[in-house]
């Protein structure tokens, strides 16, 4: 599997939101306004790449040698949660501008299953370190792309006459389904 394939696959074909349906809570929760969607997308890119790399290291150097692969779920959760906390402290001290930019979205990612899911997918496919890095980045970019596209659509939806039972999240889910279908068109690419 070449790098190009990983990138295209991660962003479009196996889009973490629209093809694998992971991370739906921030997808619906932060997509009402373009501004928040962009903030969330940035935070996810940042954390997902870091988490992908760290969890791969833990998997390759601890879990596999000690035959503890069956412990990966709980280990990854612990590591990701600590990582997010650590990153938050680090940014606050070292890069206050980035910290202020990411704002509330950074701690929210602790509970983002897209991050965890991407880490599991990385190790499932038995990718090497570089490929893990590229794959994580591609997933994160795919997440950001889907979220920003969706936010753009939702900002327009308020102009439309939506029947009362379908307003807000309901119409959001319908739109998410249609977006997901359109992403299925990428299926044949790889």
């Amino acid at each position: 599997m070449g790098y190009m394939e990983i990138i295209i696959g991660g962003i479009f074909v196996n889009n973490i939101l629209l093809a694998q349906f992971l991370g739906n809570c921030p997808f619906l929760g932060t997509s009402k306004k373009m501004e928040t969607a962009v903030g969330m997308a940035m935070a996810v890119v940042f954390v997902l790449v870091l988490a992908g790399v760290i969890t791969w290291l833990i998997y390759a150097f601890f879990l596999v040698p000690y035959k503890l692969v069956y412990m990966r779920t709980i280990a990854f959760i612990l590591v990701i949660a600590s990582l997010v906390q650590f990153v938050e402290m680090f940014l606050k001290k070292s890069i206050p501008a980035l910290y202020a930019g990411l704002g509330i979205f950074l701690p929210l990612i602790t509970t983002n299953c897209a991050v965890f899911g991407a880490c599991i997918l990385n190790v499932d496919k038995e990718l090497n370190f570089m490929k893990t890095l590229v794959q994580s980045t591609a997933y994160a970019v795919g997440f950001g792309l889907a979220l920003i596209l969706f936010a753009g659509v939702r900002e327009r939806i308020i102009l439309a006459r939506v029947p009362k039972p379908l307003q807000d999240t309901s119409i959001g889910l319908v739109v998410a389904g249609i977006l997901s279908l359109t992403f299925y068109a990428f299926k044949g690419m790889i």
Binding site: L68, I74, A75, F86, I104, I158, L159, A160
Partner: protein, 698 residues
């Protein structure tokens, strides 16, 4: 065996993560203001998000950063607000409750640019060419604010704009944030009191014109619906002297009344007087709320309309106010200049008492420069000074014979007579001649002649340089003087007063004039006719040709003499007529002292503007006018050429005492309209806003 290694692994990983995090928290420690924790402790800690911040700790950070008021927590209540203000060392004045209110009164009557069915949110409608109403600042009426309010304090009222339930509103600001047209505003009482008319306000032409910026359509609406107390409160938000203004105001607002374009203007001032008299006659003073005490002291020098208005607003903002006045009683020119028949002193006293009742201190018979000076005020701990000394010095003709016996000046005559009438009626009455002449065409001149008539002068006349059309006096006053038998000699320029051998005035020589070309101000200036000298037989002469501030106190203090700038008309110089700050930063001015003789209502407006500046000065802000202040200008879009859709309705006549009755005494000549008349007149009001108004009035 497997489970043991798993447990050991998890323990190890947990210890590693925990250790790394605790080490990181030491390494990456960032100093955080300890007040944040304390402030957070005072919030409700419910993380409800009602304040608009992401949780209580975010709100606490915002408070400490000065981005949120101490009242940020909408759940914790006023005690928490006071505690937070205490932690922050903030002016408790800012801890006043916020309240939401709607500034658009157009609603359904506002015309639409287009019809677009199908949108059900203001936000969405606003993104389509700014929304459908023609009015650029009008309410869209789709109720985003109603949906945003989690306290159920808002609903779309019967006229298609949101109505606030003041009891349920907690001032969270959700409606303000969500409104795409900035119609919903969250303000404290102080902020409302200090608001100056701005270019982007939703205000009718009358309110734009009123020098005191009273919300005229609102109080007329309240009169119409029988809420007289509400009307009084609305007027008092801008004008504490409503009884006086209701009597003596020349109502510049009425000249911009939209009804006046097609019909006769609404009799706004009589409605104001009706509401004001209602309060007085009810015998019950309506409560006036004040912000919490700030501990700042302000000295108001001069207890005239400007000083009283300034003291009233400063007191309501929570400052401690002392009025120093040169006369025995408060009121200034409206007590000692305006005669009893126009403004009964009993009425004035009632009105002034309501200002003093707020806790304003009054120090009578204190003349600036004689009994105290600015330096002694500073030594007594005053933080700012308002200089509202009025314009009490008559201009003189600079003509021969002005100092003859029987010659007086306008303000001098009126105030002396008033003093005698109010303070020492048992003493000898000031001199009144048989054949009296008053020179001048302003309100002072008219007040003099109407006073002389009542004092029993046989023949009273006015000598004025120009014609009746150019007289600066109020038209109502000129007409009343004519009815009372005053003679007018127009186009006559006095040259000298003639005296007899005892030094008493016996005649006035004047030159006849004719009107020449219009001058820069658009008035045709009079030109003397050569050799037209004429002599009138008189035994009393009053010159009332204008007045300016008496600034003798400047000479008494070196500091003031050097630093306090005055204009060439002896008025106190303020670089900005809205900020009204003098050349000495802690001295503010307003009223006649700043502008020269002007209307009572202008002085009241200036008193409020100066109160705003003093408040800014005392709270450490830069004293600047708001960017979009309207001041005396008009919002162009609100000024119409014609007003279609009206049915003509006659204006209510002002009831007045019959002439033969009123010229015998100083009993008030103008009377108040009846309740039916007030209802009729309030129904004539079109309830204008910026561009819309009620059509088809019945």
């Amino acid at each position: 065996m497997l489970s043991l290694s798993a447990i050991l692994f998890m323990l190890g990983l947990g210890a590693l993560c925990g250790g790394a995090l605790s080490a990181a928290s030491k390494i990456f420690y960032v100093y955080e203001d300890p007040r944040i924790g304390v402030v957070e402790g005072f919030t409700a800690l419910a993380n409800c998000g009602g304040c608009g911040y992401a949780g209580c700790s975010a709100a606490a950070v915002a408070v400490v950063a000065g981005e949120a008021p101490p009242s940020v927590c909408i759940v914790a209540g006023s005690e928490a607000t006071a505690n937070i203000a205490g932690v922050m060392g903030l002016d408790p004045g800012t801890a006043e409750a916020l309240l939401s209110y709607n500034t658009c009164t157009g609603g359904d009557r506002a015309e639409d640019k287009y019809h677009y069915m199908g949108i059900n949110s203001c936000q969405a409608l606003a993104s389509l060419s700014g929304g459908q109403p023609v009015c650029p600042v009008g309410c869209l009426g789709l109720g985003d604010c109603v949906r945003a309010c989690v306290f159920d304090a808002l609903k779309i009222g019967p006229h298609g704009y949101p109505v606030v339930d003041e009891i349920k509103c907690v001032g969270c600001g959700a409606c303000e944030k969500v409104c795409p047209k900035d119609i919903m505003e969250i303000k404290t009482m102080s902020q409302k009191l200090l608001h100056l008319n701005q270019y982007d306000d939703r205000i009718a032409p009358c309110q734009q014109t009123c020098p005191a910026e009273i919300d005229i359509p609102k109080y007329i609406y309240q009169i119409k619906t029988g809420d007289y107390e509400g009307a009084v409160n609305t007027i008092r938000e801008r004008n504490p002297l409503l009884l006086s203004c209701g009597r003596v105001c020349p109502h510049p607002c009425e000249s911009d009344c939209r009804r006046g374009l097609e019909d006769e203007a609404v009799s706004i001032n009589q409605l104001k007087r009706f509401a004001a008299d209602y309060e007085m006659n009810s015998g019950r003073r309506l409560p006036i709320s004040c912000a919490p005490d700030t501990g700042k002291k302000v000295a108001v020098i001069g207890g005239g309309p400007a000083g009283l208005s300034n003291a009233f607003f400063l007191r309501r903002l929570g400052h401690e106010v002392t009025i120093f006045d040169a006369m025995p009683k408060l009121g200034g020119m409206i007590r000692y200049g305006i005669p009893e028949y126009r403004l009964p002193k009993e009425v004035l006293a009632w009105e002034i008492q309501s200002i003093l009742d707020l806790g304003v201190e009054h120090k009578p018979n204190m003349v600036l420069g004689r009994d105290f000076d600015i330096g002694s005020l500073m030594a007594a701990g005053f933080d700012a000074v308002f200089l509202g000394i009025g314009a009490w010095k008559d201009y003189t003709l600079r003509a021969e014979g002005e100092d003859l016996e029987g010659c007086y000046t306008g303000i001098n005559f009126l105030s002396n007579f008033s003093l005698w009438q109010q303070e020492r009626p048992h003493e000898k009455r000031p001199f009144v001649g048989k054949k009296c002449v008053v020179i001048g065409g302003g309100n002072t001149a008219i007040d003099c002649v109407r006073t002389l008539v009542r004092l029993g002068a046989d023949e009273v006349s006015i000598v004025y340089r120009r014609t009746r059309k150019e007289m600066p006096a109020n038209m109502v006053e000129i007409e009343a003087a004519e009815h009372e038998g005053i003679k007018f000699t127009f186009l006559a320029a006095p040259t000298r007063a003639l005296g007899d051998e005892e030094g008493k005035v016996v005649g006035l020589e004047y030159l006849k004039m004719e009107l020449g070309e219009p001058d820069a101000s658009g008035r045709r200036s009079p030109v003397p006719i050569e050799g037209s000298e004429t002599v009138m037989d008189i035994d009393m002469l009053i010159t009332a040709i204008g007045q300016g501030p008496d600034i003798f106190f400047k000479d008494e203090s070196k500091r003031l003499d050097e630093d306090l700038q005055v204009t060439r008309w002896n008025t106190i110089d303020s670089a900005d007529p809205i900020a009204l700050q003098s050349s000495i930063p802690y001295i503010f001015t307003g009223g006649d002292a700043a502008t020269g003789a002007d209307l009572v209502v202008s002085a009241i407006g200036a008193g409020r503007r100066a109160a705003r500046s003093i408040h800014m000065y005392l709270t450490g802000q830069d004293v600047t006018p708001p960017e979009k202040t309207l001041f005396t200008n008009h919002i162009p879009v609100s000024i119409f050429e014609s007003v279609p859709g009206l049915t003509k309705l006659a204006r209510t006549k002002m009831p007045e005492l019959p002439v033969d009755e009123r010229i015998k005494s100083f009993v008030e000549a103008d009377l108040v309209i009846s309740e039916e008349e007030a209802l009729y007149e309030s129904n004539r009001c079109l309830q204008c806003c910026l561009i819309c108004y009620n059509k088809d009035v019945a």
